[in-house]
């Protein structure tokens, strides 16, 4: 049994498909973040899902999908400012990474820029 089942949680959707659960989170959250399957929350729960896996924030509550092989997908909500902060931080890291990976291309472009008018004419 995962640690989330021992926490105080709300069930927003029960025994549904993963697609419907994702749509519920997207429609009913103030903020939506997308994580990869295997994203760890709380002590020992690794998110099961079909990418993109949506996770939502509504006030102090984090909404996420919880999948059980014999019962389908549930949308659970747990109050956790700590996990919400981690989710936002994770999103910031993703943006930073994408900016870093884009920067060498930018450098290459600037490197290709002409150094003088003479170079411009050569082109």
């Amino acid at each position: 049994m995962s640690c989330v089942e021992q926490m105080k949680y709300k069930l927003h959707l029960e025994r549904t498909s993963f697609k419907e659960a994702r749509e519920y989170i997207e429609k009913n959250s103030d903020e939506v973040y997308y994580v990869n399957p295997g994203y760890k929350i709380f002590k020992d729960y690794y998110i099961i899902g079909v990418p993109p896996v949506a996770m939502g924030v509504r006030g102090t509550e984090m909404l996420f999908t919880y999948v059980k092989p014999c019962h389908g997908t549930f949308v659970m909500g747990i109050d956790s400012e700590e996990e919400i902060a981690r989710l936002r931080e994770n999103e910031l890291e993703k943006i930073k990474k994408s900016l870093k990976s884009a920067s060498p291309k930018g450098k290459a472009d600037s490197g290709a820029a002409p150094a003088s008018f003479a170079d411009m004419y050569k082109k």
């Binding site: 993963f18 990869n36 690794y46 099961i48 079909v50 059980k68 092989p69 014999c70």
Partner: protein
Amino acid sequence: MSINRNNGNLAQEMEDMSEGKKALLVMGCPEVPVQMSMVIYLTHKLKKSGWDVTVAGTDAAVKLLKVADPESYYVQKTVDLDELIGDVVEKKVDFDVCFAFMHSDAGMTYGATFSAISKARLFAVVFGKNAEALGESIDYPAEKIVATATHNPNPLKNKIDKVAL
């Protein structure tokens, strides 16, 4: 005679090639009878070809397997599915090939998770009444083995027998 000898050599070659390679069988909900039959069959078949086989499942699925194979003649290694996912994510373990058994949306979702977290060559083994529709809904990287089988394992067995590893 010569055919038998050739077959023997081929089997030996296959065994040598897969020696030490790790296979994972992921069981879904055990409510459809063909799953347990095929898990035992495929484990036996892979082991005979030299694969190191681990079977993952829920507590109920693993219990069913252990009762069916009380002396672990066919299946030696079993593991809790959710614990295994944690270990694969944390890179403590991984496999060369993974067969994910599924007959429901939840099973399909577990397959997607393995597709994302593991480097294994993934086979989605889709069965049950809605196998065709479920198979079509799989849009993640996986080789699909689809058969509308619930009680009779042979349609699924015939397709699994055609898999070349």
